[in-house]
């Protein structure tokens, strides 16, 4: 074997190594594809609205018939005011009339038309960078936390009048019977709710 032959053989070995490595690479790629094939997930199509919600309870408290409720859910917020404000005002007036009284401007000073105008557009205001509360006596509608008592807030705004305690079972005429029923609190607090302070915040599900 001459020196030049050795050199040629070394070159061949190098070439052979390159080819082997190349095959190995290809083989590796094939394995990768076999183990983890590209996932084709189909997100095509048109999705059409069936339900809509901003604030809690708006549709259910104000819509007087199933037809109105269904219609409200498929009306976009920018068209809800024109379509539903007057219906909601009639409903709220009727709720008061059933107890022989008229709506009284609420703790925010809102008259019945203004209140139902605000509520008919079913969106939730959120103030980024500001502590969140549905209503804490001072701050109004900067979002909704997991423990905000949105039912009591809603009841107070709807029935509480200027002091927030109008429908609270008072017996003003002293006849031993409440003049008006308790409608400003449902008697349920969020004390039993203990969300986490970290993501995803909601509690683990109840197990069977």
């Amino acid at each position: 074997m001459t020196d030049s032959m050795k050199l040629i053989n070394l070159k061949n070995i190098s070439a052979a190594l390159v080819i082997v490595i190349g095959f190995a690479s290809c083989s590796s790629d094939d394995d990768a594809i076999a183990i983890d094939p590209p996932v084709v997930v189909d997100f095509s199509g048109t999705f059409s609205q069936e339900d809509q919600m901003g604030r809690p309870g708006i549709n259910t408290v104000f819509s007087a018939t199933p037809d109105i409720e269904n219609s409200f859910n498929v009306t976009i917020p920018s068209e809800q005011g024109a379509a539903f404000q007057s219906l909601f005002e009639t409903q709220l007036a009727g709720l008061h009339g059933a107890f022989g009284v008229s709506y009284e401007n609420n703790i925010l000073g809102l008259d019945i038309t203004t209140l139902t105008t605000v509520l008919a557009s079913d969106v939730l205001q959120v103030a980024p960078g500001v502590p969140t509360t549905y209503f804490d006596g001072t701050n109004v509608l900067t979002g909704r936390t997991l423990t905000d008592d949105v039912i009591d807030v809603s009841l107070i705004l709807l029935f509480g009048g200027q002091n927030g305690d109008r429908f609270n079972g008072q017996d003003l005429d002293g006849d031993g019977t409440p003049d008006l029923p308790i409608l400003v609190t449902d008697g349920v607090s969020g004390a039993g709710e203990t969300p986490s302070s970290t993501f995803p915040y909601l509690e683990a599900p109840h197990s069977s």
């Binding site: 059409s48 919600m53 259910t60 018939t65 079913d122 205001q125 500001v130 109004v140």
Partner: protein, 226 residues
């Protein structure tokens, strides 16, 4: 006096009794969606543990008994809408839809169309996905500073809805009880939770209630594939 009250209560019942179940957040809200996989029960939006973030929670399919095998519907898109200028039209959307046990997320991004019908832009900038959780442990993921969760959770909503129904049905002249009974105690719900840096959520406008606070509007929609 009592007779008058009773009559009045019947009037209130008449006003509201026609199949209306009142004020259960959006739980049980309208006949067309009640009990369906497109029934949104609640929307929450609040400041995150990191005050530079906002958390959105959209819950569907409420009043699930422990052990329920309810799952997200692959034909139902849950969409968080964000209005940055107060015209009540969405400027940004965040979309969530399940495929094969994974919840896929798109956005926030500016949709190509607004209103009742939506499409999904698969090529939008912010994409995420997370395995759907069914047990007590919560599987979460994060991408681009956005955190994702989807799965079964305890329903945080609380309300004496049966007493409310009794009131409007003319069966409870005294109104609510003290204490009341939380009809949602012990129930679960399917929950989608997204925590988003405020820097990705667009602009704000002055609160419509005149408080002077800067806000955006948000609402949730459930949309079924046609």
């Amino acid at each position: 006096m009592n007779k008058i009250r009773k009559t009045n209560l019947f009037i209130i019942g008449g006003l509201l009794s026609i199949g209306v179940v009142l004020m259960a957040a959006d739980h049980i809200d309208a006949p067309a969606v009640v009990g369906t996989t497109a029934d949104i029960t609640d929307l929450y939006a609040f400041e995150g543990a990191d005050p530079d973030n906002t958390v959105f929670v959209a819950n569907v399919q409420g009043l699930l008994a422990p052990g329920s095998s309810a799952t997200f519907d692959e034909n139902v898109l849950v969409e968080i809408n964000i209005d940055n200028d107060g015209d009540l039209v969405e400027d940004l959307v965040i979309q969530a839809i399940p495929r094969g046990g994974i919840m896929y997320f798109f956005g926030p991004y500016e949709p190509s169309q607004t209103g009742l019908n939506s499409v999904i832009d698969e090529d939008t900038q912010y994409l995420g996905q997370v395995a759907i959780s069914s047990g007590s442990s919560a599987t979460t993921s994060e991408a681009n500073g956005i955190s994702y969760f989807a799965g079964l959770r305890e329903d945080p909503f609380f309300f004496d809805s049966s007493q409310f129904n009794a009131i409007v049905g003319g069966m409870a002249p005294g109104g609510f009880n003290n204490p009341g009974n939380d009809d949602f105690d012990g129930t679960n719900v399917l929950s989608i939770v997204i925590e988003v840096p405020n820097s990705l959520l667009g602009g704000t406008f002055s609160h419509p209630a005149g408080t002077g606070v800067e806000v955006f509007n948000t609402w949730a929609e459930a949309k079924r594939k046609q």
